[in-house]
Amino acid sequence: MADFIQLLIGGVSMGILYGVVAIGFVLLWQTSQTINFAQGEFVMVPMFLMVALHIVLKIPFWPAFILMLVGSAILGYLFERLMVRKLLPGGVLVIVIATLGLSGFLRYGIQIAWTPQTLFFPPLFSTEPIRLSGITFSPEDIWNIVFISVIIVVLHLCIKRTKLGMAMQAVAQGRETAELMGINVRHIIILVFVLNSVLAGTAALFAAPIFFVRYDIGIFLGVKAFVAAIIGGFNQIRGALVGGLTVGLAETFAAAYITTAYRDAFVMILLFIVLLIKPEGMVGIKEEAY
């Protein structure tokens, strides 16, 4: 039982990170039919930005964090303005190929312009173990789970309860109809791209001490989050979250109870099963319902 809870903590703390990155996939897909294969790099770049501001330039944590979010927002804005807006009329495939290119550009750009080395990032919370009847956990794991959960809940409330959030949902459910309401769809789409990159920037802060800061971490995170979004449901924010947790837990439990060697293979098997049985994802909605 103690082992089970131990694994649960491990799986959830990874899964929630996958989930928060996967939410970005959902946001972009819903509002602008964009599949962003550079999503992982949208986490990687803020990581390096944070290192540059906080560790290299020695700016105190909070101002550095805010500047990093501003930088992320600019990245998201430029992504929409210079790439998506121009290429979207060409269809999803064009966007997919372009974002794959962008992913490589950002990755090797960082490698060449800065470093191929993995950089250290100090932990945000204590990593001293706390023991509780056979279970050992660190404040880092618990606080990561708590903070990311809070961020997701706040995001959820903003989308469900605020006027802008409603407008985002409206754009996702019917772009032209949203325009009939007087909603400026362009602005909303930009807002969503900025929101996505700010969210990715926040995820970067939590991920940096755990994964360290490396130029190719985006591939790992991007693939995991993409799989999570498909497993959970590409058209639902809660789908992304459910998918992320499923991937995190499946990896951990497969490694613990079956074999450590092919943990990624189990996630892929899970992906196939979901695609066969419920192609819209675990909590996704069938697109035909529109």
Binding site: D3, I9, Q111, Q117, T118, F120, T136, I210, R214, A256
Partner: protein, 400 residues
Amino acid sequence: MLRKTLVSISILSLLIFFSSAPAIAAEAVKIGVVIEMTGAAASLGDYWTKGVKFATKEINDAGGILGRPVEYKIFDTQSKPPISVSAVKKALAWGPFALSGPIYSSSTLANMFLSQEAKTPQNVGSENWRISTKGSKYIWRCSTQQGFEVPKLLNFIMSEKKPKAMAMLHVNNDYGIGAMETTKKVLKEKWNTELVAVMATEQKQADYSAELTTVRRKNVDALFIYFLEEEAAIVYRQIRKMGLKLVVFGPNSSISEDSLRLGKAAAEGVYGMSGFEYNAPEPNCARISKWFKKQYKEWPDNEFMKGYNSIYLVKTGIEQTGGFDKVKYSQKMHDIFITPKMQKNICGGNLYYDDVGDLHLWDYLVQVKWDGTHAKPGIVAALPPLKGPDSNKKTIWYEK
């Protein structure tokens, strides 16, 4: 005004002429550096190429090899074995005297037949034991291979730490699997014991809670970690976060500068072994490490020394044969005892190359120390090589 311009132009052209003059004067000794510039091992490849660059500069400043300058060209393997094959092909098409790299064992195993066919010396950073069984006369290692490293390391752990239950985590590629095979064999044959758990992990894995939960369940008191640098650092953090108290040990990657820089306090107490340490009592390692620290504001990883040596090995071979015949080079460089007297700049003290190109040298046993800001390798002992003239020497203890 005109005069000024004329003067500057003539000075400039003179400068260009003189700076490029030596390169034109003699045909260069070309070395193809086939290395991990991108991909999972890019960080290691970066250290390696810095070593290559420094050695080349040093040699050229001192007049080159038999009067000829060294020229190198980099071919990226992207840390992928299939790409490394085409990289070696491209490098060979360039017409080099020798190759330097790659580091990844899987890559070397995939591409080494090419250097063998082309009869071109290849100095690799790989440590998988299988490489030496392929019968190539054109492969030389730049560090101790697993078949000799693992017994030395286990010898120390078994006799000094006397663990009751040992487990092993290894990365699921040729590097990690090779070490796992050697470990099982050595434990069985020499110590008549077994690992209580063996777990293969994915490259780039970020969460080890499943593996460490098993380690805890099986009451493991000594954990052998055979990972690459980043993964080693990540697992140190998680061992600490789970509050596990056990002896952790591993190969040179687990105590190399990259692991320590990332692992910080969590790396404290980890044991490892390496032929090259920046703070080892060996003057050449210390000298080039100081240069590195001055240049890049940090201590080098041992891949830097390995890359550096990969160039000096070529210099040694050419000088020992007195010419540029690759076949003679290959004959000369097997069963050779390279001492600082023979090659004054080479790192690692006395280096013995046996008949299959395996390197035997004194390895340093290291335990990581934490001084509150930096994790540093603390030299515990120098372990003599298992083969060659120094193999009958005794372990030198620095602290016990």
